[in-house]
Subunit: 166 residues, 2 copies
Amino acid sequence: MKTEHELPAGLDDTLGWLLAQVFQNHLSASQRALEGFPGSQRGYMVVNAAAHGCARNQIDMANQLRLDRTVMVYLVDQLVEAGLVERVPDPADRRSKMIVATDKGRVRLEEATAVLRFVDDHVLAPLEPGERAHLREMLQRLTAHYLATGGDYREACATAAAATDK
Amino acid sequence: MKTEHELPAGLDDTLGWLLAQVFQNHLSASQRALEGFPGSQRGYMVVNAAAHGCARNQIDMANQLRLDRTVMVYLVDQLVEAGLVERVPDPADRRSKMIVATDKGRVRLEEATAVLRFVDDHVLAPLEPGERAHLREMLQRLTAHYLATGGDYREACATAAAATDK
DNA sequence: GACAGACAATCTGTAAAACAGATTATCTGT
DNA sequence: ACAGATAATCTGTTTTACAGATTGTCTGTC
């Protein structure tokens, strides 16, 4: 059953390549699964964040989701047009607009979340159940660490530069 | 020491988001590390593949690396100009050109590989040594499985569609 | 041996996406 | 009241991916 497929020589040890493969793999799979969802995975992320209400305004949300502020504009435009979220002016600061999910948005979010769970299962099919949980947990830890350190890689680059100087 | 950083609510369980974070994290780190390398990570991949000689011609290599054939043209152009690879016409088929690494290319490849190892270590810093190996191995397994099944997700989408029909 | 169809590499043009900078309305502090 | 900062938006530029046409070459058939 398990066809031992040959990985391209030299790249099989390149972490960046492996990450790219798995990521793009999952990306294209969820792209199909989210077909019809405005803004695709990014739209999903925005509605998700809106439903959890963890962002005060658009820029705040853009930062949390690592999206450009100008991208955020037309992303939210799409979602508003589809009736999944609303731009609610913050009474305390009329410059800010809070992105809140509509009831319809919450329903679509639930559906999409369920569909994405199937995608996850499919992508992680070759792993044991315990391994899947472990992978998830490791990715969470890596992400949390990255966010905590503010994505600062000056140290890493300095180390790398020192290595090449030899 | 270990600052438990809060992950955005709702997204912390989204595998696609976690993969995106870690991937883009690694991507930007290696981008800096490969500064000056023609074509950046893609150029690195091409030289790597060229050094291992596992592709008969440009299109073959493009397929293995999941690159568009027209992208391959100007990617190889850059690398040829930098003297890292050469386009050698295949005597057996003059339409084909084999991409072979020059001595200079092999040296640069070695250097870049060493630098990338530091990037890997930095990105995976929050994991135990044993976990890093396990993560690598799992990613390899997922990639191998994906390549073996030809990236065919019709089954997954059918399953997902059935789930939403309920 | 000529010809049709396929294929490798390349070129050209187009469409989409990301992003920097300016703009408008609003807030804050002095 | 005014200067400077900030949120959202708009505008234009640049990059990028990609589809389609083009050229040279191969393969098979009649």
